[in-house]
Subunit: 109 residues, 2 copies
Amino acid sequence: MMQTAPIDAVMRSLADPTRRSVFERIVRSREITVAELTLGSGVTQGAISQHLRALKQAGLVIDRPEGRNVHYRARPEGLKPLVDWMAQYDLFWRERFAGLHALLEEVEP
Amino acid sequence: MMQTAPIDAVMRSLADPTRRSVFERIVRSREITVAELTLGSGVTQGAISQHLRALKQAGLVIDRPEGRNVHYRARPEGLKPLVDWMAQYDLFWRERFAGLHALLEEVEP
DNA sequence: CAAACACGTTAGTAAATGCTAATGCATTAG
DNA sequence: CTAATGCATTAGCATTTACTAACGTGTTTG
Protein backbone atom coordinates (compact mmCIF):
# COMPACT_ATOMS: atom_id res chain seq x y z
CA MET A 1 0.00 0.00 0.00
CA MET A 2 3.05 2.18 -0.51
CA GLN A 3 4.77 4.09 2.24
CA THR A 4 3.64 7.54 3.24
CA ALA A 5 5.62 10.14 1.33
CA PRO A 6 5.37 13.95 1.53
CA ILE A 7 3.51 14.02 -1.78
CA ASP A 8 0.94 11.78 -0.14
CA ALA A 9 0.02 14.17 2.64
CA VAL A 10 -0.07 17.12 0.24
CA MET A 11 -2.26 15.37 -2.31
CA ARG A 12 -4.57 13.99 0.29
CA SER A 13 -4.90 17.36 2.00
CA LEU A 14 -5.80 19.18 -1.18
CA ALA A 15 -8.13 16.49 -2.47
CA ASP A 16 -11.01 17.49 -0.26
CA PRO A 17 -12.91 20.50 -1.68
CA THR A 18 -13.70 22.03 1.68
CA ARG A 19 -10.14 21.73 2.91
CA ARG A 20 -8.74 23.00 -0.36
CA SER A 21 -11.07 25.97 -0.10
CA VAL A 22 -9.75 26.67 3.37
CA PHE A 23 -6.21 26.54 2.05
CA GLU A 24 -7.06 28.88 -0.81
CA ARG A 25 -8.58 31.40 1.56
CA ILE A 26 -5.50 31.24 3.75
CA VAL A 27 -3.30 31.92 0.73
CA ARG A 28 -5.38 34.86 -0.42
CA SER A 29 -5.45 36.39 3.04
CA ARG A 30 -1.97 37.14 4.22
CA GLU A 31 -3.14 35.92 7.60
CA ILE A 32 -6.53 34.76 8.77
CA THR A 33 -8.01 33.52 12.02
CA VAL A 34 -10.00 30.37 12.62
CA ALA A 35 -13.14 32.40 13.31
CA GLU A 36 -12.82 34.23 10.01
CA LEU A 37 -12.27 30.98 8.15
CA THR A 38 -15.31 29.49 9.83
CA LEU A 39 -17.55 32.36 8.72
CA GLY A 40 -17.05 31.87 5.00
CA SER A 41 -17.25 28.08 5.15
CA GLY A 42 -20.48 26.16 5.43
CA VAL A 43 -19.19 24.03 8.28
CA THR A 44 -18.67 24.36 12.00
CA GLN A 45 -15.62 25.73 13.74
CA GLY A 46 -14.67 22.27 14.87
CA ALA A 47 -14.54 21.04 11.31
CA ILE A 48 -12.35 23.97 10.34
CA SER A 49 -9.93 23.16 13.14
CA GLN A 50 -9.71 19.59 11.89
CA HIS A 51 -8.95 20.73 8.37
CA LEU A 52 -6.34 23.12 9.69
CA ARG A 53 -4.67 20.31 11.56
CA ALA A 54 -4.48 18.27 8.35
CA LEU A 55 -3.08 21.21 6.37
CA LYS A 56 -0.56 21.95 9.09
CA GLN A 57 0.53 18.32 9.27
CA ALA A 58 1.02 18.33 5.50
CA GLY A 59 3.27 21.36 5.85
CA LEU A 60 0.95 23.59 3.86
CA VAL A 61 0.20 26.12 6.59
CA ILE A 62 1.66 27.39 9.84
CA ASP A 63 -0.11 28.94 12.78
CA ARG A 64 0.73 31.93 14.90
CA PRO A 65 -1.09 32.01 18.24
CA GLU A 66 -1.77 35.52 19.47
CA GLY A 67 -3.79 35.93 22.61
CA ARG A 68 -6.94 33.88 22.23
CA ASN A 69 -6.76 33.95 18.45
CA VAL A 70 -4.71 31.77 16.17
CA HIS A 71 -3.64 33.25 12.86
CA TYR A 72 -2.90 30.92 9.97
CA ARG A 73 -0.82 31.66 6.94
CA ALA A 74 0.29 29.63 3.94
CA ARG A 75 3.67 27.97 3.71
CA PRO A 76 4.81 28.16 0.08
CA GLU A 77 7.47 25.46 0.43
CA GLY A 78 4.65 23.14 1.37
CA LEU A 79 3.74 22.83 -2.28
CA LYS A 80 7.23 21.73 -3.26
CA PRO A 81 6.36 18.01 -3.25
CA LEU A 82 3.61 18.76 -5.71
CA VAL A 83 5.85 20.88 -7.91
CA ASP A 84 8.55 18.21 -7.85
CA TRP A 85 6.04 15.53 -8.71
CA MET A 86 4.84 17.46 -11.74
CA ALA A 87 8.35 18.36 -12.81
CA GLN A 88 9.24 14.69 -12.80
CA TYR A 89 6.61 13.98 -15.42
CA ASP A 90 7.32 17.13 -17.27
CA LEU A 91 10.55 15.35 -18.27
CA PHE A 92 8.71 12.45 -19.81
CA TRP A 93 6.20 14.57 -21.60
CA ARG A 94 8.69 17.02 -22.93
CA GLU A 95 10.38 14.18 -24.76
CA ARG A 96 7.17 12.89 -26.21
CA PHE A 97 4.66 15.64 -26.69
CA ALA A 98 6.09 18.75 -25.06
CA GLY A 99 2.73 18.68 -23.40
CA LEU A 100 3.07 19.52 -19.77
CA HIS A 101 6.07 21.65 -20.54
CA ALA A 102 3.94 23.77 -22.81
CA LEU A 103 1.38 24.07 -20.06
CA LEU A 104 4.00 25.22 -17.60
CA GLU A 105 5.21 27.75 -20.13
CA GLU A 106 1.78 29.30 -20.23
CA VAL A 107 2.29 30.33 -16.66
CA GLU A 108 4.82 32.88 -17.80
CA PRO A 109 4.86 33.54 -21.55
CA MET B 1 -19.84 21.23 -0.32
CA MET B 2 -18.65 23.08 -3.41
CA GLN B 3 -19.53 22.02 -6.88
CA THR B 4 -17.49 19.42 -8.70
CA ALA B 5 -14.81 21.11 -10.76
CA PRO B 6 -12.17 19.50 -13.01
CA ILE B 7 -9.52 20.15 -10.37
CA ASP B 8 -11.62 18.10 -8.02
CA ALA B 9 -11.53 14.92 -10.08
CA VAL B 10 -7.82 15.31 -10.77
CA MET B 11 -6.88 15.91 -7.16
CA ARG B 12 -9.05 13.14 -5.92
CA SER B 13 -7.70 10.72 -8.50
CA LEU B 14 -4.08 11.39 -7.66
CA ALA B 15 -4.64 11.43 -3.90
CA ASP B 16 -4.70 7.66 -3.58
CA PRO B 17 -1.17 6.16 -3.58
CA THR B 18 -2.13 3.01 -5.46
CA ARG B 19 -3.99 4.91 -8.13
CA ARG B 20 -1.24 7.50 -8.42
CA SER B 21 1.25 4.68 -8.84
CA VAL B 22 -0.86 3.26 -11.64
CA PHE B 23 -0.90 6.66 -13.32
CA GLU B 24 2.86 6.98 -12.96
CA ARG B 25 3.43 3.61 -14.54
CA ILE B 26 1.16 4.54 -17.43
CA VAL B 27 3.15 7.70 -17.97
CA ARG B 28 6.48 5.92 -17.93
CA SER B 29 5.28 3.26 -20.32
CA ARG B 30 4.22 4.80 -23.55
CA GLU B 31 1.37 2.31 -23.53
CA ILE B 32 0.53 -0.45 -21.11
CA THR B 33 -2.18 -3.06 -20.77
CA VAL B 34 -4.35 -3.79 -17.77
CA ALA B 35 -2.68 -7.16 -17.27
CA GLU B 36 0.77 -5.55 -17.20
CA LEU B 37 -0.42 -2.93 -14.74
CA THR B 38 -1.90 -5.63 -12.55
CA LEU B 39 1.37 -7.53 -12.36
CA GLY B 40 3.39 -4.75 -10.79
CA SER B 41 0.67 -3.69 -8.38
CA GLY B 42 -0.15 -5.54 -5.21
CA VAL B 43 -3.85 -5.61 -5.94
CA THR B 44 -6.22 -7.60 -8.11
CA GLN B 45 -7.10 -6.95 -11.71
CA GLY B 46 -10.54 -5.77 -10.69
CA ALA B 47 -9.05 -3.11 -8.45
CA ILE B 48 -6.82 -1.93 -11.29
CA SER B 49 -9.81 -1.60 -13.58
CA GLN B 50 -11.56 0.50 -10.99
CA HIS B 51 -8.58 2.81 -10.67
CA LEU B 52 -8.37 3.07 -14.45
CA ARG B 53 -12.00 4.08 -14.61
CA ALA B 54 -11.34 6.86 -12.09
CA LEU B 55 -8.26 8.06 -13.97
CA LYS B 56 -10.14 7.99 -17.25
CA GLN B 57 -13.08 9.88 -15.83
CA ALA B 58 -10.67 12.51 -14.51
CA GLY B 59 -9.26 12.90 -18.01
CA LEU B 60 -5.82 11.69 -16.99
CA VAL B 61 -5.67 8.63 -19.26
CA ILE B 62 -7.25 7.29 -22.40
CA ASP B 63 -7.74 3.71 -23.46
CA ARG B 64 -7.20 2.02 -26.78
CA PRO B 65 -8.96 -1.35 -27.09
CA GLU B 66 -7.14 -3.76 -29.34
CA GLY B 67 -8.49 -7.25 -29.61
CA ARG B 68 -9.01 -8.57 -26.16
CA ASN B 69 -6.45 -6.22 -24.68
CA VAL B 70 -6.93 -2.61 -23.65
CA HIS B 71 -3.92 -0.35 -23.84
CA TYR B 72 -3.80 2.71 -21.63
CA ARG B 73 -1.74 5.80 -22.14
CA ALA B 74 -1.44 9.11 -20.33
CA ARG B 75 -3.24 12.23 -21.43
CA PRO B 76 -0.96 15.19 -20.74
CA GLU B 77 -3.72 17.80 -20.94
CA GLY B 78 -5.35 15.99 -18.07
CA LEU B 79 -2.94 17.67 -15.71
CA LYS B 80 -3.88 21.13 -16.91
CA PRO B 81 -6.34 21.75 -14.07
CA LEU B 82 -3.55 21.03 -11.64
CA VAL B 83 -1.09 23.26 -13.48
CA ASP B 84 -3.65 26.05 -13.63
CA TRP B 85 -4.44 25.68 -9.98
CA MET B 86 -0.79 26.02 -9.03
CA ALA B 87 -0.24 28.88 -11.45
CA GLN B 88 -3.07 30.73 -9.81
CA TYR B 89 -1.26 30.68 -6.49
CA ASP B 90 2.06 31.31 -8.12
CA LEU B 91 0.69 34.79 -8.73
CA PHE B 92 0.04 35.43 -5.06
CA TRP B 93 3.32 34.00 -3.94
CA ARG B 94 5.38 35.76 -6.52
CA GLU B 95 4.13 39.05 -5.13
CA ARG B 96 4.91 38.09 -1.57
CA PHE B 97 7.78 35.66 -1.41
CA ALA B 98 8.58 34.62 -4.94
CA GLY B 99 8.29 31.19 -3.42
CA LEU B 100 6.36 28.94 -5.72
CA HIS B 101 7.62 30.87 -8.69
CA ALA B 102 11.15 30.04 -7.72
CA LEU B 103 10.17 26.41 -7.40
CA LEU B 104 8.63 26.41 -10.85
CA GLU B 105 11.76 28.01 -12.22
CA GLU B 106 13.82 25.13 -10.93
CA VAL B 107 12.08 22.92 -13.44
CA GLU B 108 13.96 24.67 -16.22
CA PRO B 109 16.82 26.89 -15.06
C1' DC C 1 -13.66 37.39 40.47
C1' DA C 2 -17.10 35.58 36.68
C1' DA C 3 -18.69 35.68 31.96
C1' DA C 4 -17.56 35.73 27.26
C1' DC C 5 -14.64 34.47 23.67
C1' DA C 6 -11.40 31.78 20.43
C1' DC C 7 -9.84 27.60 19.46
C1' DG C 8 -8.69 22.59 19.94
C1' DT C 9 -10.36 17.99 20.86
C1' DT C 10 -13.44 14.06 21.17
C1' DA C 11 -17.32 10.75 20.55
C1' DG C 12 -20.47 9.36 17.51
C1' DT C 13 -22.50 8.90 12.84
C1' DA C 14 -23.41 8.72 7.93
C1' DA C 15 -21.17 8.45 3.76
C1' DA C 16 -17.39 7.51 0.78
C1' DT C 17 -13.47 4.67 -0.45
C1' DG C 18 -10.48 0.75 -1.78
C1' DC C 19 -10.34 -3.84 -1.83
C1' DT C 20 -11.52 -8.94 -2.91
C1' DA C 21 -14.06 -12.53 -4.88
C1' DA C 22 -17.11 -13.73 -8.23
C1' DT C 23 -19.41 -13.07 -12.54
C1' DG C 24 -20.18 -11.55 -17.28
C1' DC C 25 -18.77 -10.41 -21.91
C1' DA C 26 -15.91 -10.19 -25.82
C1' DT C 27 -12.03 -11.99 -28.29
C1' DT C 28 -8.52 -15.33 -29.49
C1' DA C 29 -6.55 -20.14 -29.41
C1' DG C 30 -6.73 -25.17 -30.05
C1' DC D 1 -17.18 -25.32 -31.48
C1' DT D 2 -15.02 -25.24 -26.93
C1' DA D 3 -11.64 -23.55 -23.84
C1' DA D 4 -8.93 -19.95 -22.39
C1' DT D 5 -7.69 -15.16 -22.04
C1' DG D 6 -8.27 -10.01 -21.00
C1' DC D 7 -10.93 -6.83 -19.05
C1' DA D 8 -15.12 -4.57 -16.90
C1' DT D 9 -18.56 -4.84 -13.46
C1' DT D 10 -20.82 -6.05 -9.27
C1' DA D 11 -21.87 -7.21 -4.39
C1' DG D 12 -20.16 -7.26 -0.06
C1' DC D 13 -16.98 -5.80 3.50
C1' DA D 14 -13.67 -3.21 6.27
C1' DT D 15 -11.66 1.10 6.68
C1' DT D 16 -11.41 5.86 6.24
C1' DT D 17 -13.38 10.31 6.09
C1' DA D 18 -15.84 14.64 6.96
C1' DC D 19 -19.06 16.28 9.75
C1' DT D 20 -21.84 17.86 14.05
C1' DA D 21 -22.53 18.45 18.80
C1' DA D 22 -20.53 18.81 23.00
C1' DC D 23 -16.95 19.74 25.94
C1' DG D 24 -12.25 21.39 27.62
C1' DT D 25 -8.55 24.89 27.90
C1' DG D 26 -6.54 29.17 27.82
C1' DT D 27 -7.31 34.31 27.20
C1' DT D 28 -9.65 38.61 27.44
C1' DT D 29 -13.47 41.54 29.16
C1' DG D 30 -16.45 43.76 32.61
